[in-house]
């Protein structure tokens, strides 16, 4: 009897060659979007009240009729404050000169003008929002200089406060 042994030898050869297939690696792309800045509109106007021809009148930033804004943004972030300041108030065709001194604006992280820090509104300021509330307050005063023959009337002009994140 012839015994035939048949042994099937299956060789499983692992593909150990340097892989021809792609190898991948992942990282993450990340970003943190900050709370948008909001600046109040018409919170309080800068009101010189009654002004007499030929007599200059000043309002301090700490006065009750100074201009006032509230600002809210991301906690503790730095912002630039800048003003667009008028040269005149206007009533019809009549102009009433207005000026702003080096300490006619102020800021604070709370609504406490008595503790505010003064700055030149023409230069602006760079400061940090409150770390706990993200708030800041700004005030502005100024001086009007009516001419001796200044026509009577109600004179107005816009004062604009711009606030932007610096990235810090």
């Amino acid at each position: 009897m012839r015994k035939i042994l048949a042994t099937f030898c299956a060789l499983a050869i692992l593909a150990t060659a340097g892989s021809a297939f792609a190898v991948s690696g992942d990282i993450l792309a990340t970003a943190n979007v900050l709370q948008p800045l909001t600046v109040s509109n018409n919170l309080r106007d800068l009101d010189f009240g009654d002004v007499f021809p030929g007599i200059a009148k000043s309002i301090l930033y700490s006065d009750a009729t100074s201009g006032k804004w509230s600002i809210v943004g991301e906690l503790g972030k730095e912002v630039d404050l800048s003003f667009t300041l008028p040269a005149n108030l206007q009533s019809g065709v009549n102009l009433l000169p207005i000026s702003f001194g080096g300490a006619d604006a102020a800021w604070h992280t709370a609504d406490a003008v008595g503790s505010a820090t003064a700055f030149d509104p023409a230069a602006g300021a760079t400061e940090f929002l409150d770390a706990a509330t993200g708030e800041m307050w700004a005030w502005i005063g100024g001086t009007v200089t009516p001419a001796g023959a200044q026509p009577a009337g109600v004179y107005t002009a816009n004062i604009t406060l711009d606030v932007v994140y610096t990235g810090n």
Binding site: M1, I4, A12, I13, A29, N32, V33, P36
Partner: protein, 167 residues
């Protein structure tokens, strides 16, 4: 007493089946390795203001590559995200043609490339390279505040035009 002898005429026939040709049984070279090393971090982003990270910035994305000495490898980004995802919102991002670079270590050479296209390079000895990726985040003016994230995938393989991995 009967001695029984059994004679066995045996034909030992082994059918040996080779599943792979002999050439595949040679000692193989190393596989390409891709090691993520740093996330691409745009950091604080202001709504309505684009933020750009260059490949040379310290917060650019980074991978390490390791391949066989002096081999040629294809480098591709197979998953460049069109946006980062936040909670209930997404923020567009894009990757411009000069915002990726590969640095061939030991050779000191570098190649800026378009991350949308990829690049084929030859590494030195040892076969190490670094890949850096920048990008541009474009938050809308009304972008919701918060964290945004998305994966970025880098692929690397031996270039097929070089006949496969070196042995």
């Amino acid at each position: 007493m009967i001695a029984l002898g059994i004679s066995c005429f045996c034909t030992d026939a082994r059918a040996q089946i080779d599943l792979d040709p002999p050439s595949a049984q040679k000692k193989a070279g190393p596989a390409v390795r891709v090691t993520p090393q740093r996330d691409l971090q745009f950091g604080d982003v202001i709504p309505g203001v684009e933020t750009t990270v260059d490949h040379s910035d310290p917060n650019s994305g980074m991978w390490g590559l390791k391949a066989a000495n002096e081999s040629i490898i294809d480098i591709r980004f197979t998953a460049l995200p069109p946006a980062l995802n936040g909670t209930g919102d997404s923020m567009p991002v894009r990757f411009e043609s000069t915002q990726a670079i590969v640095i061939i270590q030991q050779l000191g050479t570098s190649y800026v490339f378009d991350p949308a296209v990829g690049i084929t390079v030859q590494v030195g000895k040892p076969g190490r390279a670094l890949v850096f990726l920048g990008g541009i985040a474009s938050p809308r003016g009304d972008q919701s505040a918060g964290s945004y994230v998305s994966p970025v995938t880098l692929d690397a393989e031996y270039a097929s035009s070089a006949g496969g991995p070196p042995m």
